[in-house]
Subunit: 913 residues, 2 copies
């Protein structure tokens, strides 16, 4: 406990928020850096605690206060309680942490009958003076004396009513005087004493009131709600500041400013001001403020002061500032300043500029930008002033805005897209088989599923806009309608979706295209030179691979081979493979798939050369490639119906969700063709029932498929290795890697490794060359974490699949949890975050650490990365950095975010997460 209670703005320690509160410290700091701040002083938070404990002000406090007031009097040449040119002060609370509106404030303190007269004389504006007076009486009455607002309001309203006046501003000086006198009576009646005329009495009461407000019901509740413990903020300081007025005449003004343009980042002053006005006039919106640039002609000297202020602020804070100012009788005062909020583009530009101006260094330029904000730079945005009301809202599942024609299935999307139309694909939910529709569409809208549903994950991977789980929209594929209340949206009708907000609009709304500016490129190059983590992309096609390279990916950390299975020309082959009843039949189907996959890999390797490409072997359960039981039953019913009526007539292909499987052309369907289709559908139905799983997430998938049907994995391995061999033949430098999913034991890896080695020998023989590639494993089961030492005996690299790992660690099915109980869990604070969005460091993180430690113990040069969704999230990236991972792999549009976050991780090393 300091023996001193008060600190003038000239002497208080601007960094000591704990002692002086946030506002007080800020005022001290501003004063000491030479800004023109109205003189004042701070009573410390310690004094507050002492008062609350002792229930009386510490001895000597009021003496100190008098000395401080004397100091202000000297600085301002005014006198507290003086007859002419009286000193008025504000008395404000200010804790170490801002608690807006929670505690007491009193303005215009120091007014009494005498000083009022002095004020009138000084300003020659009785209306101004009485307005200030009546406000002070009510505020003081309420805050310091505990009188209900209502007691004052009743008189105020009576005067207004009697005068036939609606707006407060219409009240005349006389009416305000009448009100002031009525208010003084109220105080006398309610407190059985006259209103305190002695200004130090006023001040003492006000100080006590501010102290007590720390323990008011609402302040206590606020601290509890925001978890503000005594360690974070303990007690409030009291700030006593000279009142300055922007409304004392035409040499007065009030305004707000930014040191640079927060919309563009341009290095120019930006802001608005009003002559002869108070701050609240700006808020009330009665007068329209002018851009500060107009001050240059209207108030040239003050404009110079303002520019001077701007430079001082930036030189001191080394950050764009958002400040408030008042001009009283030609003198500019700075009342408050804080870091300016800007959009991402402006943040990037100012970072680059400030480094060029040598205002900040590169680490600071990187650290001042929130990595998350960069994603908005990569997607088209809705124009700001479209003024449309959203038709419905879903979850903002993949950022960006898109307009286009509604389409209800992937095949139609592909067909219409070929005509050059923009498409929005609407589905209840999407499945892997819809993937060609994603490519064709500008945006995806689903009525079911969460932010990590198939639609959301795939759309994010492709950088397409997606709104998911818009439950108010009923999507009726059969009748080709989307229904919201009374509104029916037909196929072909235009809509707009905003994947950044989740809003859905009828009709088209113009969008602002994305920008990957030179400044952003420069900034990210700085980030790369700082970061230790490498950034890879989760990418499945040559197109997105090129996009990822453009964004700065240094490799592919995850290529999901199954995504290649879903194109229209492949799916029938995949289905044949699944329907196969013997290894022989399956191998026949696989033989057809083989050249397609090989060519896919070759194109991908070429696109990414010379960077590494990590190919994951087949992961999803086989039933994911088949339609649902429900859908097959419907299609069979329809086919059987057509069988009874077919006579060369056209069959409505709209009946089928996936007409690409049906024999074409439909208008020439003969009986035999339909019967064949029925037989095929029946086979598919039988297979669907055979493959049914209670918990597909924990089912027959990943390497388990590779163990049951080694011929599938062998086909994929051969595709990868032959693709690699073909690249080598063309002297393209590549780095292929084979990755095994869902591994739980080294035995699985060993068996896949045996396949790989056998096929490697065959391919090397066939192409007469030596192949060089890595073999590794996903770490996405809990058991893999616990057995990482054994896995590292075989694997060259690990890649954490934190999506699946999170499900296993929490025993949460992602699809179910996000629809059923996760919202409640977050709301009620059972979980701080959605663990599918924010990596669960305290639980899952322990397992990751176990895996890293065990793995590196076995193989010190083991390369370790992460390819779950978390790989693109800054906090998770920091954790991965601290854990010693080598790379993170994320969807293409997250790459800039990840590059910056990786630099942050390095710069913030050692600081707690």
């Amino acid at each position: 406990m300091n023996s001193r209670h008060t600190y003038s703005f000239n002497t208080g320690d601007g960094k000591n928020k704990a002692l002086l509160g946030g506002k007080g410290a800020n005022l001290c700091e501003m004063t000491q850096m030479g800004l023109n701040v109205p003189p004042g002083f701070v009573i410390s938070t310690e004094t507050c605690l002492s008062y609350l404990q002792q229930n009386s002000l510490p001895a000597g406090l009021m003496d100190e206060v008098r000395r401080q007031i004397a100091g202000i009097e000297e600085l301002t040449g005014r006198q507290f309680g003086g007859n002419s040119d009286p000193l008025l002060v504000s008395v404000r609370s200010g804790a170490a942490i801002s608690m807006p509106g929670m505690m007491a404030t009193i303005l215009n303190l120091g007014l009494n009958k005498q000083t009022l007269a002095g004020l009138i004389e000084m300003t020659d504006d009785p209306r101004f003076a009485y307005d200030a007076y009546r406000r002070f009486i009510q505020m003081f009455g309420k805050v310091a004396l505990g009188i209900d607002d209502e007691k004052f309001d009743v008189h105020f309203n009576t005067v207004k009513r009697n005068a036939g006046i609606k707006a407060d501003v219409a009240l005349s000086s006389d009416q305000l005087q009448e009100i002031s006198e009525l208010f003084l009576k109220v105080v006398h009646e309610e407190t059985a004493r006259p209103f305190p005329e002695d200004v130090y009495d006023q001040l003492e009461l006000a100080i006590k009131a501010v102290f007590l407000s720390w323990q008011s019901h609402k302040a206590v509740a606020y601290r509890r709600a925001f978890n503000i413990t005594p360690k974070i903020a303990n007690g409030t300081a009291v700030n006593i500041v000279t009142m300055v007025f922007g409304n004392m005449g035409d040499d007065c003004a009030t305004g707000v400013g930014f040191t640079r343009n927060p919309g563009t980042g341009e290095n120019e002053i930006y802001g608005e001001y009003l002559v002869n006005a108070q701050g609240e006039d700006v808020v009330a919106g009665i007068r329209t403020p002018k851009p500060v640039q107009e001050m240059r002609s209207e108030m040239p000297e003050q404009y110079r002061q303002l520019q001077n202020l701007r430079h001082k602020l930036e030189a001191y804070y080394r950050e764009i500032q958002d400040f408030e100012f008042t001009i009283e009788r030609g003198v500019l005062y700075c009342l408050q300043t804080r870091n300016g909020k800007m959009n991402a583009a402006a943040m990037v530009k100012t970072s680059i500029d400030m480094v060029a101006e040598e205002l900040i260094d590169k680490p600071r330029a990187l650290l001042r930008i929130n990595p998350e904000s960069l994603e908005q730079l990569l997607h088209p945005q809705l124009g700001l002033h479209h003024n449309r009301q959203p038709l419905a809202q879903g979850l903002p599942a993949s950022p960006g805005a898109a307009s286009g024609k509604c389409v209800f299935d992937a095949d139609t999307a592909v067909r219409l897209a070929k005509t050059g139309a923009d498409i929005i694909l609407l589905r209840e939910e999407t499945k892997p088989e819809d993937i060609h529709g994603f490519f064709a569409a500008q945006g995806i809208l689903t009525s079911r599923g969460g932010k990590t549903s198939h639609a959301a994950v795939v759309a994010r991977g492709m950088g397409k806009a997606c709104v998911a789980g818009a439950e108010d929209i009923h999507i009726d594929v059969r009748s080709r309608l989307a229904i919201v209340g009374d509104i029916h949206i037909k196929e072909g009708d235009p809509i707009t979706i905003d994947g950044s907000s989740g809003n859905i609009y009828l009709g088209r709304i113009p969008t602002i295209p994305s920008s990957f500016s030179e400044e952003l490129k420069t900034l990210l190059a700085w980030a790369d030179s700082v970061a230790r983590l490498r950034i890879y992309a989760n990418v499945d096609t040559p197109e997105t691979a090129r996009l990822a390279i453009g964004y700065g990916a240094k490799g592919i950390g995850l290529c999901r081979t199954e995504r290649m299975f879903n194109a229209c020309d492949r799916l029938p082959l995949v289905i044949d493979m699944i329907l196969a009843n013997s290894t022989d039949e399956r191998e026949t189907a696989l033989a057809k798939l083989f050249p397609i996959q090989r060519d896919d890999f070759q194109t991908l390797f070429e696109a990414m050369a010379p960077h590494p490409v990590t190919v994951r072997l087949l992961d999803p359960p086989m039933h994911e490639f088949l339609p649902s039981e429900h859908q097959l039953l419907e299609e069979l019913e329809a086919l059987r119906h057509y069988l009874t009526i077919v006579k060369g007539r056209r069959i409505a292909m709209e009946t089928f969700n996936r007409p690409c499987e049906l024999p074409a052309p439909f208008n020439q369907l003969g009986k035999e063709v339909i019967m064949e289709a029925i037989a095929k559908k029946e086979l598919m139905l039988a297979k669907v029932l055979e493959l049914y799983e209670v918990n597909p997430m924990l089912g027959h998938r990943g390497v388990r498929l590779g163990m049951s049907y080694p011929e599938i994995y062998k086909m994929q391995i051969r595709s990868i290795l032959e693709a690699a061999a073909r690249c080598l033949k063309q002297r393209i430098q590549i780095e292929p890697e084979i990755m095994v999913p869902q591994v739980i034991t080294a035995q699985e890896l060993k068996k896949v490794k045996e396949m790989v080695e056998q096929i490697r020998a065959e391919v090397e023989d066939q192409y007469r060359l030596k192949l060089d590639f890595k073999f590794g494993t996903m770490i996405e089961t809990v058991r893999a974490c616990t057995r990482a030492d054994r896995l590292a005996e075989i694997a060259h690299f690990f890649s954490f699949g934190t999506n699946d790992l999170t499900q296993a660690v929490f025993s949460f099915s992602r699809e179910d949890a996000e629809n059923k109980f996760l919202p409640l869990y977050k709301e009620s604070g059972i979980l701080e975050d959605n663990p599918f969005e924010n990596l669960d460091i305290r639980g899952l993180g322990k397992l990751m650490k176990m895996a890293v430690d065990l793995g590196r113990e076995q193989r010190p040069d083991l390369r370790i990365g992460i390819c779950g969704e978390h790989g693109g999230h800054p906090r998770s990236i920091r954790f991965c950095h601290n854990l010693g991972l080598d790379y993170v792999s994320c969807s293409a549009p997250r790459i800039p975010v990840a590059r910056l976050a990786a630099a942050h991780a390095k710069l913030l090393e050692g600081q707690s997460l």
Copy 2:
């Protein structure tokens, strides 16, 4: 490397199997304990390795061999290669680990023209001698000289054919002589040398042949298949033993014996013998052996020797022995002995007897019994000689045999059981709603699901026989038929199932009832006094609680409250509760359930008093209490059909799987009643669709329900605490415990704890007493393991739910894995065990250790147990003991197993698992 190569039976170290092989060490041991073993010696495994390495016998070996043979000659008074009374020996392989049939053996070595004459003279039995001779030539020719059996067999068969003889035993002495001469010719032709006449040449060749057989193709393959590494067995020893013959006359015999009756454990000699016979005569089955008791009159002196042998064996081995003997000219030789295999009842009885006889101490009495074997004592078994062929086979899901009438739904089972009929419940698979059918039935048979399916788990919990996943049986509930191929089994037809083997039989087969003998009780009491782990039961009803107490349970470690929800009088209330659309509606339904649950708990507490009863709050997802979508659609279709035809006629209630929900009586159904039923079913259908989950295992269940619908948990908590209060009022001493399932974070526990504390205060107030109970958590999610320190701040106890934990650690859905890929994983050695049966110590075990360490760090007196299925498995119990757990909880019939296993765990502390 020892400089010595050979060890006579008198001097070899009977414990050194690595050096002398298993058989050689056994022969040394028997000799040195004073048994009459035919004299002989062993050539060490080291010598074998040296030979294989150098490709020549070590210098001096054959000299040593000659000295050993000289020793035998002295002991037997016979001469190796002698003219009269010749010494014949067997030359056998014998590695440290028995590899039956894998390596070489030669009998009757030492025969040549000279010694043959001597043998004829000595035995006066030329047929015997020639038979021995021709066998020796062929065996030696094959093993030592590498001649194909076929070369000999062709001559043998020609002689037989020419003589018109079918059976070998019918060959005369002359014919055998002719064969011998032909065989000698074969050897000469094949090796271009005459058959070796010098007996030491014979011996040297035989020794080399045995050594080489260690590296034969089949021996190498065997070692690879059974994972016999050089560390376990390296090289084979050679055993050279004097031949003794049980077929030299009527003072000769051969036989096998047990030192006690292996069927009953009675302390009496048990065995069979044949006079004037060879061991292979017993095997050939041409003559019927006599019980050894007959020797008492037939060969009194030899019977005395036999009794003497029995006592010596038991005194030495302190274990029941299974031995082979031969009597040659009135002298009994013991050729081999090993521990006797007995059924569980006999094991228990002999343990008790041997302790009484002071032959063994109690630890040894406990350790000699395999805990697993005790379960067979608790279940009825099929009579051994029923000779029926099984109709089909499923998985042995819950042990014991049961016969009864086929029934296809739980309600009918209950109805028929009331008439006194025995019931076997047949279902495709069971759901919790079938639970009343389990109580009514003697056994359960399902056509789908694995050993840990609902049917299996529940049946084991109740100690009822269950065969699960009998996929060859098609169960058609609608037509009330079970179909296997052409066979149609109607409702009411009798069948028998054997849950120990998985077999299913048509008709009834008598069963042998279970026995929980006094001896078993004594043994388990000894076990309890040794064990540190306490044994609790997983039990849900007062009946099974009483059963568990009878088996020795010291508490209930898991009472699944949802099991109480499924009785016919409760399910409709539960369904109302689920259909409720508001908290109010739900509370109304819960208010009806409340007194039922309270009374359930009271009865259970009373049944278990004064032992602890751990009640787990509701765990399964709500949709488990509703019928499937499929079933509801069918029922609705039927109801709608009836609506069109109903005119007071009886409706076939068989249409409904669960008629108990429908309004009754059916024969008076009016239109309104049916419409009401339709409305209800439609509501249920809508709810089923609403509650649908992609992965129910990872869905809205456990404490997540408690968070979403606190009113359900509150009702259960109040039921438990009021039941406790009522017991206390009656001065019944009880120990109630409340356990929360599926916990992932301390926040969940905190919230449930708040409910508990609030209700505790209310109940204490209402009943005017103080309640004393524990509050704890299941550890069945991975995250709970990683956050165990935080959980232990709130929980008094942990209980590992290793079923769910295994699913999460492996990312295996139990139901899917056991049907789809686990069998392959076990067959191909990817996993050593089914982790749902054998706790995965290397993976899951690490997490358990983490949880125990973190939990006890926070709360040193934290009580920790396990209530997964693994809690009843000996190896898992040893692991739990080593981990420092306090108790294991298992299904009632596993309690004896667990009690013994807990004693083993203590006795084997420090030994590797």
